[in-house]
């Protein structure tokens, strides 16, 4: 079994009187796909927002294991979490719609290019080292465009792409930021069965070839069960089950949460 990449320990998030995430602990491993599932409003996206620094958790620890050091994500701002290698996508796609597909992927490599351009000064002078870095960035973008099958649309505005292409572009953009943990918020939402099967294959490929961890929120059970190594089930902010997909499929608590309890009135 691969090493723990992210350890979530007793994470809680409260908004006033509402507890969206309650005492949640789980581990996401490197080179593995960890899925978080649960009914609507279970707190899945809140976990993501805590993890990527968009919310500050009310309690608990989020430890990211980097090469040799552990980072306490709960103390970092969103920008620094992204720089540390936790990059996310959004449930409602957030591309830069007016910019071209290629530009979207170049923007994702901002911090690398910023250093290469000596914080703009070297870039203004047209340094060779910056031009080389930009070429490398374009090549990385080309690589990901080919992986997600958007190479033909490279120079078109991202906002003009069909919905499924936008979903894949957002994943490509996140990968261009060279994450060690890729967090995907419902990547298969709104996709037809063929597209979501392709997406599942792509995610499995990314996990195997790039050797990174993937954390996945998903409602499409076929995708989840096909590709996940580990599944965490949330309901009302609590973890109700955890395990390999096959175990989850047959878990009584999970079935109850998804299908609902047969209530007293019906039983009578």
């Amino acid at each position: 079994m691969s090493a723990a990449l992210l350890a979530v320990e007793r994470l809680s998030m409260r908004f006033g009187g509402v507890t969206a995430v309650d005492d949640l602990s789980f581990v996401a491993r490197a080179h593995a796909i960890t899925a978080i599932i649960g009914p609507n409003g279970a707190g899945k996206t809140t976990v993501f927002n805590c993890l990527t620094g968009f919310y500050r958790p009310s309690a608990g620890q989020l430890r990211l294991q980097r090469a040799s050091t552990a980072l306490a994500l709960e103390r970092l701002a969103d920008v620094h979490i992204a720089r540390a290698g936790v990059v996310r996508t959004f449930q409602n796609i957030r591309l830069f719609p007016v910019m071209s597909v290629l530009e979207n992927l170049i923007v994702a490599q901002h911090n690398t290019l910023m250093r290469a351009s000596l914080y703009t000064f070297g870039g203004l002078l047209g340094l060779k080292s910056y031009r080389r870095a930009e070429r490398a960035a374009v090549e990385r973008a080309r690589h990901w465009l080919e992986r997600v099958g958007l190479i033909e649309r490279a120079d078109d505005p991202a906002g003009g792409l069909p919905y499924g292409d936008q979903r894949r572009l957002e994943i490509a953009r996140a990968m261009c930021a060279q994450p060690i943990l890729l967090c995907l918020d419902e990547p298969a939402a709104g996709l037809n069965p063929r597209d979501s099967a392709e997406l599942a294959a792509l995610l499995r490929d990314i996990c195997n070839q790039e050797r990174i961890g993937i954390l996945l929120i998903e409602h499409d059970m076929r995708v989840v069960m096909d590709i996940s190594d580990h599944v965490v089930v949330l309901d009302y902010g609590r973890k109700i089950a955890e395990g390999v997909p096959d175990a989850i499929r047959n878990d009584a608590a999970v079935i109850k949460a998804y299908l609902g309890e047969v209530d007293e009135a019906e039983r009578a």
């Binding site: 990527t52 620094g53 968009f54 969103d78 920008v79 620094h80 992204a82 720089r83 990059v87 996310r88 996508t89 959004f90 957030r94 591309l95 830069f96 719609p97 007016v98 910019m99 071209s100 290629l102 530009e103 170049i106 923007v107 994702a108 901002h110 911090n111 290019l113 910023m114 351009s117 703009t120 870039g123 203004l124 930009e134 374009v138 973008a141 080309r142 465009l145 190479i151 490279a154 120079d155 505005p157 953009r173 996140a174 930021a177």
Partner: protein, 428 residues
């Protein structure tokens, strides 16, 4: 309710009702504005009524509204529209246009119809072009609506005036300092407004512009208050003054080149100076747009949350946009001070900020050629309209409304990607 349904011409009864409503509203609004009229009577100031004029105005509104609602399909027969759709076909022209423009700008002072007045007006146009290009970085690229841009223009102008008078520095020494001061003010303004966006940002920056103007008016000991600063040194041609009688031992421009002295030399020199400054601004913007920071500005305009998720710091990105935009405002301000020889807070009122924002918005946010076109229109329109000086604002407003109705994206809004995917290199 779809957009196409909304565009259909409504039935006569609905149009009639709508026109009637518009006429009533116009009539009520017009009563205090037009209907009441102060007259100089025997017992001092009296009030006269002109309800007839109000009625005429309201009936004009009625007829106009009735006609307008009938021709609403003019959105389809838009004279500007082919420009957007035929952008690909027009590409050779749009490539050539900037060069034609620069060529014309350089040749302008030597053309037969160029006199002092023409060059003066052209200089004013170029000041606004430069301010528009500077603000375009903040508004067009970074998407931060800054209604107080004139503050940086003022900081640049006062920096030059005070440095030149108190420390006897030349224009060329002051110019970078004016830019630095203005850029510093830009960053200073940027800090408190980091979390604001949209309307709130606009209001705070508007307030900032007014604060700077009021400080300039009230800090008598430094700025001379409402009297302003006079006797600001004129620029020199790299040390050679452009005057008829230079000081002892200094060769003036006309002596240096063996020309007959003519006051037009200075006007032409100022014109070329602002042309050079404006072109530098443009070159800088075109270049920085292709650098990571420029792309980050545009990404920030598109989606700040996505930027944060990719590790792009909104703080640094916004502050650099404010700072660099303000710096060019400062350069333009220094030029303004040396051209006028006199500055006062009067020159830096809100209407200036509004004009510059209008130039950027009318031109098409982020479009460099659009700024030139809009600046030319906004400066030249009042010049041509001098005979109807009373109606200048009316025409100005009407032009704005027409452009917003026809081309809400601006006169020339066509975005070229900052880089294209190069052809795959042959495997080596």
């Amino acid at each position: 309710m779809t957009a196409t349904a909304a565009r259909k011409i409504p039935p006569w009864s609905a149009r009639f009702k709508e026109a009637l409503l518009a006429a009533v509203v116009a009539g009520v609004l017009a009563i205090p504005l037009i209907g009441l009229h102060a007259v100089d009577g025997a017992q001092g100031l009296g009030i006269d009524t002109r309800f007839g004029v109000v009625a005429i105005g309201a009936s004009f509104v009625f007829v106009g509204r009735l006609l307008l609602s009938g021709i609403q399909q003019f959105r389809f027969a838009n004279p500007f529209q082919p420009l957007a759709h035929g952008a690909a076909r027009l590409r050779p022209l749009t490539r050539l246009l900037p060069w034609i423009g620069i060529g014309f700008a350089i040749a302008l002072p030597f053309l037969p119809f160029a006199n002092r007045y023409v060059i003066d007006v052209a200089t004013t146009v170029l000041i606004y072009v430069m301010l528009g290009w500077g603000l375009n970085i903040v508004v067009g690229l970074a998407g931060l609506l800054d209604l107080g841009y004139v503050a940086f223009y003022a900081v640049g102008a006062y920096s030059y005036a005070l440095l030149a008078i108190n420390f006897d520095l030349s224009f060329w020494e002051c110019l970078p300092l004016a830019g630095v001061f203005a850029g510093f003010m830009g960053v200073l303004l940027g800090f408190p407004v980091l979390r604001l966006r949209g309307d709130y940002l606009a209001i705070v920056t508007l307030g900032f512009g007014e604060i700077v103007r009021i400080i300039l008016t009230n800090w008598q000991t430094l700025t001379g208050g409402p009297n302003g600063i006079t006797g600001i040194p004129r620029p020199t041609f790299f040390g050679a003054p452009l005057t008829a009688n230079p000081a002892e031992g200094v060769a003036a421009f006309h002596q240096l080149f063996g020309l007959e002295f003519s006051p037009i030399h200075r006007v032409m020199f100022l014109y070329f100076l602002i042309l050079a400054l404006a072109l530098i601004t443009n070159l800088f913007t075109l270049r920085i747009r292709r650098l990571p920071i420029g792309r980050a500005w545009e990404a920030l305009r598109e989606d700040e949350i996505a930027c944060r998720a990719l590790g792009i710091s909104p703080r640094n990105t916004k502050l650099t946009a404010f700072g660099i935009g303000a710096m060019f405002g400062g350069f333009a301000g220094a030029f303004f001070a040396t051209r006028q020889g006199f500055i006062s807070p009067e020159s830096f009122t809100f209407i200036e900020s509004a004009t510059i924002v209008a130039i950027v918005v009318l031109g098409g946010m982020g479009s460099q050629m659009g700024v030139v076109l809009a600046a030319a229109v906004l400066v030249l329109l009042p010049e041509f309209g001098r005979e109807f000086a009373q109606y200048r604002m009316l025409v100005f407003g009407a032009a704005m409304v027409l452009i917003v109705a026809w081309r809400p994206q601006g006169l020339l809004a066509h975005r070229e990607p900052t880089l294209r995917l190069p052809k795959k290199e042959a495997p080596s």
